[in-house]
């Protein structure tokens, strides 16, 4: 009898223990560590856990300095999290190695509500959900434009207007520069050239992917114009250095993202800011599109809970909450973009409009090598001694070798 009671107690204990551990724990690696946004992320997670008492979310912070390496090493050693935040450029790299879950069927009802699917679609399958997007617009210093003789509401819409205004600002004095030109910074320089490249209707590959068109006439023309801006009135520095000089009133125009708005607000900068769409040969021009995506580890045992959490995080309400806290200008949700927070701000509207006109690089696992070839060509053209076309032809040769194109 005693032993029967003992056995019953033992099974009761096992039952209690197993029900306690029935709570699903999902791990999420993310990049938002800024004191402005981290508490918001934590409160969203907390709200999600309250609404879903059977799911617990464990957060791990990554930094942009080494986040990609950490993710790659974790996936390479099969210790990746259930959910990972990925930059748009990384999706193909992980998807092509079978490390991300194909979520094509799960996201179908959402697809028309969010922008940016093109960046997470690899070989016809969707591997990540767009969260917060990012593009670049043309910022100008209105005071310098006024000094140069322009009307208070004037904006450059064509390349020649941009060049002319930049040169006029450059002539204002020794410490004034028309254009903020990026130096050879890895992963940054090409993002500044591609808006000019795309605004001139140039393409990296032909539509069928058989030909590399990086050295086309349109591409050469775009790089020639970009070099002219750089040579005639460029203040060459790192992205940070250019932004510092711009906020200090030294530079007329720069191409930058929404992080600049956050800097202006946090550092209480007094600058008479102009923000407009990318000028083009035909207005409006195209800009660079990137963004943050949420993907599920292909090896995750908690994919359903992970998908539920991603859906929650990318909901219009949470995107607005996130954008307000982080001063981000580009939620992926079309509904979120209609929020008065974005509608009532002219500068944020420029971002919202630009994102619809922005292009993203090809979703290609070899993009890191293609990017290196393009960035090397822009670096050589801007800072080397040779002709503009030559580096583009060299880049084409490199890309042809990588992709077996013609």
């Amino acid at each position: 009898m005693k032993s029967k009671v003992f056995i019953a107690l033992f099974f009761a204990f096992i039952f209690c223990f197993s029900s306690a551990s029935a709570k699903t724990t999902i791990t999420w690696w993310q990049f938002w560590t800024d004191p402005d946004i981290k508490p918001v992320i934590e409160s969203m997670v907390s709200d999600f856990e309250k609404a879903n008492p059977d799911i617990k979310v464990e957060l791990t912070d990554l930094t942009w300095a080494n986040g990609h390496e950490k993710i790659a090493i974790a996936f390479g050693s099969s210790t990746g999290p259930d959910i990972v935040e990925l930059g748009s450029d990384w999706i193909a790299e992980f998807a092509s190695n079978g490390l991300l879950k194909d979520v094509s069927s799960e996201i179908a009802p959402d697809s028309s509500q969010l922008q940016g699917w093109g960046m997470s679609t690899y070989q016809g399958k969707v591997y990540a959900q767009p969260w917060i997007l990012g593009t670049r617009v043309l910022f100008g210093n209105r005071d310098l434009l006024n000094k140069a003789g322009y009307d208070p509401d004037w904006v450059p819409v064509k390349w020649n207007e941009l060049m002319y205004a930049a040169k006029k600002i450059n002539r204002l004095g020794k410490n004034y520069y028309g254009w903020g030109s990026n130096t050879a910074e890895k992963h940054r320089l090409y993002k500044k050239f591609l808006p000019f490249f795309w605004s001139n209707d140039a393409q990296i590959f032909s539509d069928d992917g058989k030909y590399c068109l990086i050295a086309s006439d349109k591409a050469v023309y775009a790089l020639t114009f970009y070099k002219q801006l750089n040579d005639s009135c460029g203040y060459v520095d790192t992205q940070r250095g250019i932004e510092d000089a711009f906020l200090n009133g030294k530079i007329g125009f720069i191409l930058s993202g929404d992080w600049l708005l956050k800097r202006i607000e946090k550092e209480h900068r007094k600058i008479n800011l102009m923000a407009t769409l990318m000028p083009g040969q035909k207005f409006p021009g195209k800009s660079f599109l990137g963004g943050e995506f949420l993907a599920i580890n292909a090896a995750s045992k908690n994919a359903d809970a992970a998908q539920k959490f991603i859906k929650y995080m990318t909901s219009p309400e949470n995107q607005v909450k996130f954008c307000k806290a982080n001063r981000s200008a580009n939620p992926s949700s079309l509904k979120a973009q209609q929020d008065p927070y974005f509608k009532s701000n002219v500068i944020l509207q420029a971002f919202i409009k630009q994102i619809a006109l922005a292009k993203h690089p090809p979703v290609d696992p070899d993009w890191v090598y293609i990017e290196e070839a393009i960035e090397g060509a822009v670096e050589d053209a801007l800072f080397g001694d040779g002709l503009v076309a030559q580096p583009l032809f060299e880049a084409k040769e490199k890309i042809d070798k990588i992709k077996h194109t013609e």
């Binding site: 390496e69 790659a72 390479g76 190695n97 079978g98 130096t183 060459v236 890191v368 800072f383 080397g384």
Partner: protein
């Protein structure tokens, strides 16, 4: 006796295990990886024989990195050696404030390389102090700063490296100078030898072991130059070196472990050959100078 040997082995075991696990194994494993196409995220790894090594010498990025590394070694080592020996000679004399000079020259060597690299990045920038100094002596500084110009970037980094390393090697030369017996100089003076003759006939030959040590250590360090490149230019403007190439290929976005390991072993062989040549050259019986 047998017991004592067991105890000794047991005492040595922690070091042996650590050495085998964290030094020997990675060294041997990376050599094996150098003959494969290993990539971090790839599911399969294939044996590719000498392909990685052959590809390296046809890779313009690696050839350029190797060229920059040799340039770095060829320029910095003689200058650092001459400057540090001159400094050692100067501070070996009796004069007021000698300790202050010795400490002043040595301070850069004990300062973090990252800190120094960041300070020099500012000094070298457009309108920075170095540009102002260059303008004052009639030299037109590069329009965008010394580090954003492929004609000047690597040399600017070399100059910083010489400034930083000279104090450390000065101290080693100073120890060498102190060990030379005064009697030799007295005898030379009695024989009518001047200061210059004394320097070339006594000081330099007596400093040969110290010079050998400095040359070998400085060569290895210079062949492995990385931190200053990483912090100041990220390998841009024709400043990539062999170790930076290994880092960029193996440990950043590309994760080509096989290719990067092969590059690391090429560098290992170069350093080994260079160090052996220096040993042979400086161990000759005939006077070197």
């Amino acid at each position: 006796m047998k017991n004592a040997r067991t105890v000794a082995l047991l005492l040595a075991l922690p070091w042996v295990v650590t050495f085998a696990a964290f030094w020997l194994f990675p060294v041997v494993y990376s050599l094996i990886v150098g003959f494969t196409d290993a990539q971090l995220l790839a599911h399969e790894t294939h044996w590719v024989g000498w392909d990685n090594f052959r590809a390296l010498f046809h890779d313009p990025a690696f050839v350029s990195s190797l060229k920059n590394t040799f340039l770095f070694v060829i320029v910095t080592i003689p200058i650092t050696t001459v400057v540090s020996l001159s400094l050692a000679h100067m501070v070996n004399r009796q004069f007021k404030g000698r300790g202050l000079f010795r400490a002043g020259y040595f301070v850069p060597s004990i300062t973090s390389m990252v800190v120094i690299a960041l300070i020099f990045t500012n000094l070298y920038q457009r309108g920075g102090y170095v540009a102002m100094l260059a303008s004052m002596v009639g030299f037109t500084p590069p329009q965008n700063g010394f580090l954003f110009d492929s004609h000047t970037a690597l040399y600017a980094i070399m100059a910083m490296d010489i400034w930083m390393a000279a104090g450390y090697y000065m101290l080693i030369f100073l120890a060498g100078l102190k060990s030379i017996p005064d009697e030799l100089y007295e005898a030379a003076e009695l024989s009518g030898a001047g200061k210059i003759r004394q320097f070339f006939s006594i000081t330099l030959p007596m400093l040969k072991p110290v010079a050998l040590f400095i040359l070998v250590i400085n060569s290895i360090k210079s062949f492995q130059v990385f931190v200053e490149i990483f912090v100041m230019t990220s390998g841009k403007f024709d400043t990539s070196t062999a170790v930076f190439f290994v880092y960029d290929t193996g440990l950043t976005t590309k994760f080509q472990f096989g290719y990067a390991s092969a590059a690391a072993y090429v560098l290992f062989v170069i350093i080994a050959v260079f160090s052996a040549a220096q040993f042979m050259l400086l161990r000759r019986r005939q006077p070197l100078w």
